[in-house]
């Protein structure tokens, strides 16, 4: 007979479970004798709520007048979640997940009651994608909490939450979230298929899942957005995108995305439209600056003195007179310094990080100029472009932009403006080739969608921009009737 399926006698049942848990001291087993009947209870002490165990399970169990049967156990114990199991493996799995398993030796089935105790942190403010105003809460590590927030924000029965399990060794629970009447079926199918096809031992985090299912893993540009903001997540879902949540991860994944959506912040929506548009455009300009400024400096100073205006050339020459290095080396040195500051600041505890910023930024920068390591002007340029790269609302995109600068500086140092143009052309063609869940990455510029410009490059008033992004091919493209929304009915002054 198979040794791991019930029914088993009491001794072999206890042995098997002990072996299953490698004789772990955490597995607690209790044998009760109730009205001449043997009852075995197993649980892990720190995975369950002990007070509930005593009050809601042990008390009724021990105070019964007649012997228990499996059927009675399921029906008469006032606990909502119970199930029957009949194999040792399944019993072990349930115990790990916070169940209390009750078994009457010799029976065909054991009963598991779910009494879990999870360590969760309270809802906190968003840290990496902070907003000045607008909703402040962020996702937490608990999938249940996150789903709770999403259900609360999108309280319609149209919301579909699909459950998938990924990971061959360590299983992770994954939820695909979308609105049934809006999200394009093809997008949902693509997302589901890619997650289902994964053959990996484990999925550590949402960002890892994102990298596993992205269209192109060789590209530096992220193709799916990782966000910790429930409002951003829900806003994307309501526009017809597909979201993914992974248990134990404080971020969510959204797709399909475009390059421009990485520069959108939900704050643009909360602000008045003209402010939102201005700030959004500012970010695009900042990105362009961030990529081009330092390479241009290097190219101009190495090869093309002619393009620098005479008045500027004098002060540039003066500040560079002491510098012994070629511009490429100078720029790479300083860029590296900024990256070091950023990385050290990210690793250090917050309190020390503050000091380090001052020491690194101000003291080192001043000293570098005084010592004749770099020119003043380059420090300004590098600081500006570093600042510009931090304006990207998506941390991954900001990092991508900062990293792109390094090959561009080297190309500019080697072949001047031609090197820069080559790099820029390469980036543009590269972006043209990218896709997100099979949808074009550079939309709404290419393929050109006039209606999508309203809420991607700029942001028009809500009355005017009533279309959901056509790039994600929503089933329902209109959010509201633009004419109705614009109507202003004053109270009749009669």
């Amino acid at each position: 007979m198979d040794q791991s399926t019930l029914p088993l006698q009491i001794d072999s049942y206890l042995d098997r479970l002990k072996q299953r848990f490698n004789e772990s001291p955490d597995l607690i087993q209790k044998v009760f004798h109730i009205k001449g009947q043997e009852v075995v209870i197993h649980f892990i002490s720190y995975q369950i709520k002990k007070d509930r165990l005593e009050r809601e399970l042990l008390e009724p169990l021990t105070k019964s007048e007649k012997p228990w049967s499996v059927h009675d156990l399921q029906n008469k114990i006032p606990l909502a979640s119970s199930q029957t199991v009949s194999s040792i493996e399944k019993i072990a799995e349930l115990i790990i997940h916070g169940n209390v398993v009750v078994y009457f030796p010799g029976e065909k089935e054991a009963v598991a009651f779910l009494l879990p105790q999870q360590q969760v942190r309270a809802l906190e403010r968003a840290e990496t994608e902070s907003l000045v105003f607008g909703p402040q809460i962020a996702f937490t590590e608990s999938l249940v909490t996150n789903l709770n927030i999403i259900r609360w924000r999108l309280d319609v029965d149209d919301l579909v939450v699909e459950k998938l399990i990924v990971g061959e060794r360590i299983k992770s629970e994954i939820r695909i979230v979308y609105l049934k009447s809006i999200a394009n079926d093809e997008n949902v199918d693509t997302m589901r298929q890619r997650i289902k096809d994964l053959k990996v031992a484990e999925v550590e985090d949402t960002s890892v899942l994102g990298q596993l299912i992205e269209d192109s893993s060789s590209s530096i540009f992220p193709q799916l957005i990782n966000t910790e903001l429930p409002d951003r997540f829900c806003n994307s879902i309501s526009k017809g995108r597909v979201g993914v949540l992974v248990d134990k991860s404080p971020t969510a994944l959204i797709g399909p995305m475009t390059l421009f959506s990485f520069f959108e912040s939900t704050e643009d929506l909360y602000m008045r439209w003209n402010m939102g548009t201005f700030i959004r455009l500012l970010r695009f300009i900042a990105m362009a600056f961030s990529i081009i400024l330092t390479p241009m400096y290097v190219a101009a100073l190495t090869y093309h003195y002619e393009i620098i205006p005479t008045s500027l050339l004098v002060s540039l020459g003066q500040s560079r007179a002491m510098v012994p290095f070629p511009p490429v080396l100078e720029a790479l040195l300083l860029e590296m310094l900024i990256e070091l500051l950023r990385e050290a600041g990210a690793r250090l505890p917050t309190k020390v990080g503050q000091t380090m910023g001052i020491v690194g930024g101000i003291v080192l920068g001043q000293a570098a100029v005084k010592a004749g390591f770099t020119s003043n002007i380059l420090i300004i340029i590098i600081a500006l472009s570093a600042l510009a790269s931090f304006t990207a609302p998506s941390y991954l995109m900001g990092t991508a932009i900062r990293i792109i600068r390094f090959p561009m500086i080297i190309l500019a140092g080697a072949w001047g403006l031609i090197g820069i143009m080559f790099a820029l052309s390469f980036i543009v063609i590269h972006l043209l080739k990218q896709k997100s869940l099979g949808r074009p990455y550079l939309a709404p510029i290419y393929p050109f969608q006039w209606k999508d410009i309203n809420d991607s490059l700029i942001r028009l008033p809500f009355q005017k921009n009533n279309a959901r992004p056509l790039n994600v091919m929503p089933k329902d493209t209109e959010r509201h009737d633009p004419n109705k929304a614009a109507e202003k009915k004053d109270v009749d002054p009669s």
């Binding site: 090869y303 093309h304 002619e306 393009i307 620098i308 205006p309 005479t310 500027l312 072949w415 001047g416 403006l417 031609i418 820069i420 143009m421 080559f422 820029l424 052309s425 390469f426 543009v428 063609i429 590269h430 043209l432 080739k433 550079l442 510029i445 290419y446 393929p447 050109f448």
Partner: protein, 368 residues
């Protein structure tokens, strides 16, 4: 070989993009030097020569669309084989392939020379052609949609240069246009003929037509693209004639680029450096689209796999661009491609159309 192509819907593009395909392909290496070339032939009345060329351009486009509409979803390779039979048709296809190869070579060589003359005397030729060809390969590996996207995006990224021409306009001397109507008809036609090199690219319509989603709307974007090209050539020529003195213009090889020398901004002293570097983005759609047409023709003619023929063509172009060393040879190459292009693009469709008509009628009578 099938006359008509079967294209999957996810590979087709809207007719709207034809404007950019046709226009970006026409504007390229030619525009850099076109004012002088026309001026030498037609003198002060060059603008008439350009307008003549422009009108003829529209006529050819009209004929081309008429030819294409006789078939369901055919490109020129299929049409030629249908009209002339297998062998002659394939030979004509090879003529196209050779033409594409040489025009690619001449575009690359011309641009490299401009870069060497204006901003970077010591930049090696192999490096420049390596840059351009690697971008071509990279874009072509992405398929037809990326090719169209390249022409569209690079158009948007470079079209603003036109605005900077407002500065030289203020220095124009209108006396350079007098006396008016003094050039003979022959010289006018010669000037129009010389415009040919800078307006080559219309033939792409013969190749992309099967890939267009809404074929009934083809005419408008094509004609708009042609009109815009004509306008740009007219603009730079008129400004060049007004800006340079006649003797000076005859000696300025790249008059358009020399116009940029005067432009300066508070942050950029010499705009021509930026403009010429940026011209790479004007050149890339040229190379990518011609390269696509070349690879596409090879595939249609000999069923060659796209990837391997792409690599072989790129290597051949690379070697050829290194081997041609002297300005004289580049000029010769440009002249050859220019005249080959003239016959192939501007004369051939006009001859082809009656033949297609006769062939179709002949066939109709034979197959009741």
């Amino acid at each position: 070989m099938n006359t008509n192509l079967i294209i999957k819907p996810d590979k087709t593009v809207e007719a709207f993009y034809l404007f950019f395909i046709v226009h970006t392909l026409q504007i390229g290496a030619g525009l850099m030097g076109v004012p002088r070339v026309i001026f030498i032939e037609s003198g002060t009345d060059s603008w008439i020569a350009i307008l003549l060329a422009g009108i003829y351009l529209h006529f050819v486009a009209w004929i081309m669309i008429l030819i294409l509409r006789k078939y369901d979803n055919a490109d020129i390779i299929g049409i030629q084989c249908d009209v002339f039979g297998r062998w002659l048709g394939k030979t004509m296809g090879i003529v196209y392939v050779i033409y594409f190869f040489f025009i690619l070579l001449s575009v690359i060589k011309n641009y490299i020379e401009v870069v060497q003359v204006f901003i970077f005397p010591e930049i090696p030729v192999w490096l420049m052609s390596g840059f351009l060809l690697s971008l071509m390969i990279y874009a072509l590996l992405g398929g037809f949609r990326v090719v169209v996207g390249t022409s569209f995006i690079f158009f948007l990224l470079t079209i603003w240069i036109v605005i900077t021409i407002s500065k030289p306009i203020t220095y124009m001397d209108w006396d350079h246009f007098t006396p008016i109507f003094q050039t003979g008809t022959l010289d006018q036609l010669k000037g129009a003929y010389k415009t040919a090199y800078s307006v080559l690219g219309l033939e792409i319509l013969f190749f992309v037509y099967p890939y267009i989603k809404n074929k009934q709307k083809v005419a408008l974007p094509v004609h708009a693209g042609l009109a815009f090209t004509t306008f740009l050539i007219l603009l730079v020529t008129v400004v060049s004639i007004g800006y340079f003195s006649p003797e000076q213009l005859k000696q300025t090889v790249w008059a358009t680029l020399s116009l940029f020398k005067i432009i300066s901004y508070p942050i950029v002293e010499r705009f021509d450096f930026i403009a010429i570097a940026l011209w790479m983005m004007v050149i890339i759609p040229n190379i990518v689209l011609f390269g696509w047409a070349l690879i596409q023709s090879l595939k249609r003619l000999f069923q060659l796999p796209e990837k391997s023929s792409l690599y072989v063509v790129a290597i051949l172009l690379f070697l050829a661009s290194i081997l041609i060393e002297y300005r004289v040879h580049i000029n010769q190459l440009t002249d050859w491609t220019s005249s080959l292009g003239f016959w192939l693009v501007f004369v051939y469709p006009v001859i082809l159309y009656p033949i297609v008509l006769i062939r179709k009628r002949f066939r109709k009578e034979n197959t009741p």
